[in-house]
Symmetry: C2
């Protein structure tokens, strides 16, 4: 808790210091302060700078070794903002400091013509590499993998391997040593620590683990992340159909993927689109991505209005019926949201297995019944306190309606995401709008059906 406060405070202090220096055009001091700020922290700070401040600082950062680490941590809309206006020559020059992966990542954000002009300025080899990375689908293992990997032939001796390792320039990403056969196909993996602790004359083939878990470049990044998380790996190799190793997905990228996928699920379940950078977008764009769900909910509301209109005669005899519409809809909607959230998250974290669906639905029906009866009785009794003008059977009507709408809502909240998974639709996308809208309509319909049945029979 203490640490948290400090960090938020540090961010504010740093932001204000940078602002002051920018106002004074104190370029030397700014450069010094940038050097003292970790690139990851600098990337966070950029969220709180204006466009002009961002440009001023980036002009300085662009010339530092630092820029690669900085850009990999920066949010997409900010990168787009910084690169959007720069001529292709400047971007191509900047690219000399970046890996092919980072280059591909940035180019994927730029408009098509600009991407092409930058690509044309790269040398042929680099161009081919970047284009290959860009050819993998969005959010695939191929699109997030690091291609600078260190492989050695399986007949290499341990002490030779260490010598080779010492020649490698990029140090941060070396966790494992990947081992290949004569065909250069991946055959095994050795942890750096096993390598160091092995007698120098041992062949790699004798100490390597040969049952290597790998993913394809087209594997969904979420799946790759799940594998790294499940087996506590530091990296997982990406291998093509032909058995050649193309790169690795490292645990630091996995951490980002897990967080980003959770954010997407959050937004999708609230019907707020799936753009995790929504806070950095303009009010118009923000409104645009939230419009579709609101439209679904609008249609649901209009349908509900129709249904209530059909039962106008009932409302005319007992106006008090109208007073309980919000609670009937609200209780159904809330228990439905609870059920769908539990199930959607359970699917995302692998806690809902296939073949377990019926058990889960049955359990949710039990929960719906328990809570429905409880709140049905509670509200039914409440209507007897004559604060609103009541029909004789209002308590019964309201109690039964609450109970049945909660039961149906918990059932729907469970079934809908399970069905969506079955037909290969992301449960998070459609659960929110679909479940809440249907529950609104069903709840109102049930209420008036129960009301008319009871008043007619009793």
């Amino acid at each position: 808790m203490i640490r948290k406060e400090m960090f938020q405070h540090e961010i504010s202090v740093l932001r204000d210091t940078f602002r002051r220096l920018i106002r004074r055009h104190a370029k030397t001091n700014i450069t010094k302060l940038i050097g003292k700020t970790h690139p990851a922290d600098m990337a966070i700070l950029f969220r709180f700078f204006t466009d002009v401040e961002q440009k001023t600082l980036f002009n300085i950062i662009m010339d530092l070794e630092y820029v690669a680490d900085f850009l990999t941590e920066l949010d997409e809309p900010i990168i787009l903002n910084l690169m959007g206006d720069e001529p292709p020559q400047v971007i191509a020059k900047l690219f000399q400091r970046l890996s092919s992966n980072d280059q591909a990542g940035i180019l994927a954000m730029l408009p098509k013509e600009k991407t092409q002009s930058v690509l044309d300025l790269l040398n042929a080899e680099k161009q081919e590499e970047v284009e290959e990375i860009m050819s993998y689908p969005d959010d695939s293992a191929g699109s997030i993998m690091t291609t600078d990997v260190f492989t050695l032939h399986q007949n290499t001796l341990a002490h030779e391997a260490i010598k080779e390792l010492q020649k490698q320039e990029k140090s941060e990403m070396v966790f494992y040593l990947y081992v290949t056969n004569d065909d250069e196909r991946l055959t095994g993996v050795i942890s750096l620590r096993d390598l160091v602790t092995t007698p120098p004359e041992t062949s790699l083939v004798d100490i390597m683990t040969d049952n290597v878990v790998s993913v394809r470049p087209e594997t969904d990044q979420e799946e790759a992340a799940k594998i790294v998380a499940r087996y506590n790996f530091l990296a997982v190799p990406v291998v093509g159909v032909d058995g050649f190793m193309l790169g690795i997905v490292t645990v630091d990228d996995v951490v980002d993927v897990i967080r980003e996928e959770a954010t997407e699920d959050f937004l999708q379940m609230a019907g707020a689109g799936k753009d995790r950078e929504i806070l950095l977008k303009s009010s118009w764009e923000n409104a645009k991505s939230r419009l579709p769900w609101l439209f679904a909910s609008w249609v649901g509301g209009v349908l509900a209005a129709f249904i209530i209109g059909k039962y106008e005669h009932m409302l005319e005899t007992s106006v008090a019926l109208a007073a309980f519409i919000p609670v009937i809809i609200g209780m159904g909607g809330n228990i439905g949201t609870q059920s769908s959230t539990i199930v959607v998250r359970g699917i995302a974290t692998g806690r809902v297995g296939e073949g377990e669906e019926l058990k889960l639905i049955f359990k949710e029906i039990q929960v719906g019944l328990i809570l429905g009866i409880l709140y049905g009785v509670l509200l039914g009794c409440f209507t007897f306190i004559p604060l609103v003008e009541t029909t004789p059977y209002l308590g019964l009507i309201v109690g039964l309606s609450i109970c049945s709408s909660m039961l149906i809502a918990s059932c729907m909240g469970t079934v809908v995401p399970l069905v969506l998974r079955k037909i290969n639709v992301d449960p998070a996308i459609a659960t929110g709008p679909f479940v809440t809208t249907s529950i609104d309509i069903l709840g109102v319909t049930l209420y008036f059906l129960i009301a008319s049945t009871i008043t007619q029979t009793l």
Copy 2:
């Protein structure tokens, strides 16, 4: 996508195979199959076994080296189920295969008396270690740290360090070499790779990074996770007030923390408690943790009923007013949920900085206005299609109400989580119930206020 299907399929096949073998009491084959199944996969499989199947399998696993890796991956309720009935002697025997951390983790789940009887069976040194770990608060860095760490004095030479490293038994967790001074206080850190690539006669003090980012044992695990994620660390050291290193929090635990905290936020925002194992609980316990929010929503509904009751005379003159109650509440509730989800997730991922609150609120007001006017006009026009018997000004009333309730809802959805953060309450806990219930009440009140004002003045 293909990979995902395969994995779900693998799980089902393995589960069925284990079941068949258990039915046949084929212990030898079961032991073989367990040996071939990764402990992490085994832990996932356990979610789908019955209590009896779990016990049968665990009796075999308990005697394998494997058991430590298996238990660290297993869900809490299952551990509790497996350990609950075992006598302290059996648990103490099992503990010989576990690290102090794992021991502390399991003891924390057991009832107090049982914990004490198991502790009494451990040797004095181990007992002290376990009790120290158990003394750290829940969900703190101290409670998840690994205490088996490898430190060396700063004057050690590189080749001596490598030799020391080779003597270490626990290999998986060695990513960094931590360096201490004469007082045994942490002074620096060296990556394994830097150690390997350094001339053998170099002192550690000359190659170590001396600006070590560390956390306190009482730091929230979420904060520790954020630090590891932000700086792409493989581990962060946990250091006490006195400067002594107590342990490390490793990236594989961080991955779990990030996922678990996201799950907790999901559940809390849906008012379904914060127990991420809710799917493994009984229907009663499940209902119990979902009851409080439903009660808040029930109170909100009752208040709404009161308010509508107060305007009974209006409904008597124009029953059609009742038909639009669901859409007014629904649109407000949905836009409010969108706003609060965006802000809560923004706070969790550090995208909402301090001092940015007013800007954010202003932006959400803009979004609320854009969408409110759009849907207000849309619904206002709709009421002119005479499908329900209308008052002359119904379109105006409904349109204005939708617009203002959406504006207020988006505003509340933004302000409430920001205020909760300010007063140090987890925004995820209270946002869901508080926002939706208030919006229900406010929406209904506004609707009838607008209706009565318009019918009286026009």
